[in-house]
Amino acid sequence: MTKKAHTMKRGIALLVGCLVGIPALAQAATERKSPLADAPAIRKRFELRANRLEVGVGLTQTIGQDFYNALLLNLRLGYHITDWIGISASAGLVNVTPNWRSSFNDQLNSNLGAATTAPDAKTPTPANAAAAENRIGMVILPQVDLVPVTGKFSLFSKLFMNYDFYFVAGPALVNLVSKTPSGANLSSECHTDPNFGLMCKAKPYTGLKFGGNVGFGMHAFVNKYFAINLEAHNLIYKNNAAGRDVNGNGNVNSFDLAWTYNWMVGLNAVFFLPAHVKVSH
């Protein structure tokens, strides 16, 4: 064999080796990767929300309100664009307990003063206090639902249910009402003499108020189209629940408003439509 032929043979061997070896080395890392590395955590999963309409009814109630808690008849309507994101509206339309006083309000009322005509009276009567206090009459919560958590659980190893856990955020529309819209139950002397005394320095803060809403909730699926929905919201809006002076300037006005955090929890029975459920790969 000539030297030239020998050199050519080496060149060919090197060329073939590179053609074969370089892509092979590039793929070596791929070979070490588990075939399940990019696989979904759950195969053949019921996509219980994707492209489905959610319609529900239930009850929602406030927690820890200063003066009046509210139990509201609630409607929930939503559409899930994918299995993990959707849009919905939760609406507490009717307050079925307009006179549900908080324990603090009960204690306060039992210690408030009797009716007086003294111009320097500082303590309102229970009726005066109640006339100025507001309560939640209705809430409408348009929101975005983010569903990062889905799974199933067993209870006593007998009952198995699919569930999800989601977060919500959006604006809040809150209608605040008072026992009498104009505070007409304030004592008559308060109306005749605007400078009567501290007990008369009150005006209920009412009307439709705008704020923010953040919360979380869960669905526990009884079957493929019916679920129990538990939801908690924190409604953030400006309020003066007592309808009385806050900043100490002797007047009741917008400067007495402060941001408040108002928790509500709701329980709904919801239906998902259509009843048919897609199954993931």
């Binding site: 043979k9 061997a13 080796g17 892509p23 793929q27 799974g151 199933k152 659980f153 569930y163 806050v246």
Partner: protein
Amino acid sequence: MKRLAFGLFLVLANPGFAAAAEAPAANTGETADDQATPAESAASETPEAKGDELPDLSEEVQEAATQKADTAASAAAAQKSWEDIVVVPRRSFLKGRRVELAPFSAISINDTLIRHYSFGGDITYYLTDVFSVGVEGQYFIKERSERESLVGLQFNRAPTLNKFLYSTSLVFGYVPGYGKFGLFNKYIIHWDLTLNAGIGLIWTQTIPINPDASNYPPFKNLDIMPHLGISTRMFVTNWLALSIGIRDYIFDDKFERLDRPARTATQTVADAAADAKKNGVSALTQNIMVFGSIGFYLPPSFQYKTPR
């Protein structure tokens, strides 16, 4: 010598090439043989194929390609077997006969006028995977709410309040529920649901309406305090879990009277406090607290007793 070196190079290159052949096969469903074919044809189409010593070279390449094909075929079969696996995994975390040390922080949620933050810990021994017994201790820090500060201004009244100092309880736990969830269908996280009941002691102290402590000294109470609770625990590693929960403590506490008299000239401060306590007003108090805790398990590992 050179032939040997060349052959060695090809052998070293083989596994990698097999992977190169395997990856497209896995993705497209093509057979490994299909992937091997271009290599063979590339070798046979080399201009040097007409040379006198080329049959040796071609044989080596073909042999390598054959090995590659075999490897790729077995890899494809393995890939298929991965897909066909149906797994009923065991419980990912065992608690039986392990101790959990869980420092926690909590906040009270049910009192309009005063809020308490607490810091403490649970030491829990799991008799089995579902039954546990433990002790809990916590130290409270009070914060008066804005509503409390407005009661005087708006209603000309001062509320009677007690602050919590510290508490300790014996706690029994039962785990009725166990589950797992997928986070964005990417990660599987195991969790359980725990019900708690316990009984213990709480130390409280009055916050006098009149801030003149020398004439209206506060007094302390020691109350028996049962509680109920519910919590959920997410398992992070074999020895670490995160937990959130809610506990409702109920106790009969004694508050300062609204018409409490000032200390007399003949009374010591201690006597005045004792007298105020004697004439105090008892009321059932409910303290609902939301907890967050981190649980460390000892021993840090566990062994399954049943076969997989």
